[in-house]
């Protein structure tokens, strides 16, 4: 998931200065999990902006409906076309991926060109939950974890070192940069022992191939059969008695 945190309210309000009619849009994906753009957060944002004297129209996306997936978000955008057309600004309560997907739908498919402002700062590909999350992946395009005991040193080491720890590992196996964080190489070292691959520690890892992460990376994929997949999800939901 995309780890994220809401921007400070004064920064959000400053970006909306002079904008009277505002559309706020949340996201049912990561932003719901991280409490930055779920239904409740969008409601709270609406309340704040109304108090600030704004004319607010809100769009909430239910859980597991991603703003960054065009077939999902376009259904909601279509319904609110008029609100978008009339607004002075759009405040996106999603990561930058959601913001740009929505912006692109409006720009390219609907010819509605509006200023967009982010309410959220994205903080990296993170896993965990329900309450504690940690950034785990750089999305570098060249995964090394087969050689590093399933722990990503590019992400978990503050320096992204590929050949063992720097000289600053603390005596308790913590990182010199932050005593709250584990030294990634300390973890790798311990885990290699446990999985019987201790000898891997002697291997030389070549300089990383960063050409795989030249942005923006563009993909072409066969479109998903949404109905088929949603039907499967429905079955799971039913089996859970929801």
């Amino acid at each position: 998931m995309m780890g994220q945190a809401q921007k400070p309210m004064p920064e959000i309000l400053e970006s909306l200065e002079g904008k009277e009619k505002v559309v706020i849009m949340g996201c049912g994906g990561c932003s719901t999990v991280f409490h930055t753009g779920g239904v409740e957060e969008v409601d709270i944002m609406e309340e704040i902006l109304v108090k600030e004297g704004k004319d607010v129209k809100k769009i909430t996306l239910p859980f597991a409906v991603f703003a960054c997936y065009k077939p999902f978000s376009s259904m909601f955008i279509e319904k609110h076309k008029k609100d978008f057309k009339n607004c002075d600004a759009v405040l996106m309560m999603s990561c930058g991926d959601g913001l740009q997907t929505v912006r692109q739908i409006l720009d390219e498919d609907m010819d509605i060109v509006k200023p967009f402002y982010p309410a959220i700062n994205a903080m990296g590909v993170s896993g965990g939950g329900p309450s504690k999350f940690m950034e785990k992946c750089q999305a570098c395009g060249e995964c090394v974890m087969g050689r590093t005991a399933g722990i990503c040193p590019l992400t978990e080491c503050a320096k992204g070192l590929l050949n063992g720890p720097c000289g600053g590992t603390r005596t308790d196996g913590k990182c010199e940069v932050d005593p709250e964080k584990d030294c990634a190489w300390y973890l790798i070292y311990e885990r290699l022992k446990k999985i019987g691959q201790y000898e891997n520690i002697d291997n030389f890892n070549e300089p990383h191939d960063w050409s795989k992460s030249v942005t923006p990376r563009i993909f072409e994929r066969e479109p998903l059969d949404i109905h088929k997949h949603l039907a499967r999800t429905k079955k799971v939901i039913e089996s859970l008695g929801i």
Partner: protein, 305 residues
């Protein structure tokens, strides 16, 4: 390749080598560099210049090296992979070698969060071990990291750092052997205050025969004050300052603490001379370069070969 480095000459002759560190100024004050260089002249075989140590902006190591070199000393340029990618590093290597620098110390560099520009972006396109390999390929195979070839190769004696005191201990030996495998010629260690732990580390190195494959210079820092000792003990990760050192400094009158710190440094060097596989010492007298001559003389390392 024939490397015309004075440091290499001294190490090859099996004489106990002495290097010292010059801290570059946080300004364009070249006079202070020349002053520091002249303090050290005749007492050392080569000098290091730190490269943005603790991620604080100071004069570039290579530039400081060239200014001090004019005073007749041999530089060891320190280069970290923190601020430059593999393209910039290789360009700088061509430049320093063309300007007559013969020694390089390949480092990862202190993290940006410790310095005075904490909002800067860390580069770390490569790590210090990969860096060693790149310099060696440039020198021995006339080859860039890309595989492209060059006509005239850089003539460089390749060094790296090692910290015998950081954890996990076993990993430290592994890191060193990795550096040796990738082609490092000499090692300058982290400051040694815990001589027993250093001896233990050297024993492991001898067991593996690594002391025959690389020239190790033991790092020594004279302690100026009890405050400095406590700071290093508690605030600098990877530093091992035993309580016995702090106790010893606490026992002498306040005005004699720095003198005692110098004594400890001299005793450490004398002990290093007795350890099999230690080829020299690297004196890091931080903002205290004027004490290096006295340390070198008292340790019985003067005159230099």
């Amino acid at each position: 390749m024939e490397i015309n480095s004075n440091l290499k000459r001294v190490l090859d002759s099996k004489k106990f080598a002495v290097t010292a560190e010059i801290g570059p100024p946080p300004s364009v004050d070249s006079k202070i560099i020349k002053k520091k260089a002249n303090m050290l002249k005749g007492y050392i075989d080569a000098f290091n210049v730190t490269d943005g140590q603790t991620a604080v902006v100071r004069m570039a190591s290579w530039a400081t090296c060239l200014i001090a070199k004019e005073e007749g000393l041999e530089p060891i340029v320190q280069m970290t992979t923190r601020d430059r990618n593999r393209i910039a590093l290789q360009m700088d290597i061509l430049g320093i070698a063309a300007l007559g620098i013969k020694n390089i110390l390949c480092l990862t560099g202190d993290h940006i969060s410790f310095g005075n520009h904490p909002k800067a972006k860390g580069v770390w396109d490569i790590d210090s071990i990969q860096f060693i390999r790149i310099v060696k390929d440039m020198r021995d195979n006339k080859q860039f990291e890309s595989g492209d070839k060059m006509d005239v190769a850089p003539e460089l004696f390749i060094g790296a750092a090692a910290n015998p005191f950081a954890d996990p201990f076993e990993m430290r030996i592994k890191r060193l052997s990795k550096k040796i495998k990738q082609g490092v010629d000499f090692i300058q260690t982290q400051c040694i205050f815990n001589i027993n732990k250093f001896k233990e580390w050297m024993e492991k190195i001898r067991d593996l025969g690594l002391h025959e494959k690389v020239k190790i210079l033991g790092g020594v820092t004279p302690i100026k004050s009890i405050g400095a000792a406590k700071y290093m003990k508690n605030k600098v990760p990877g530093m091992d300052v035993p309580d016995s050192i702090i106790e010893r400094l606490s026992k002498v009158p306040k005005e004699k603490v720095s003198e005692e710190g110098i004594k400890i440094a001299i005793e450490t060097i004398q002990q290093l001379k007795e350890i099999e596989g230690v080829y020299g010492t690297h004196i890091m007298a931080i903002e205290w370069e004027e004490m290096v001559p006295e340390i070198v003389k008292s340790a019985g390392l003067y005159p230099r070969p």
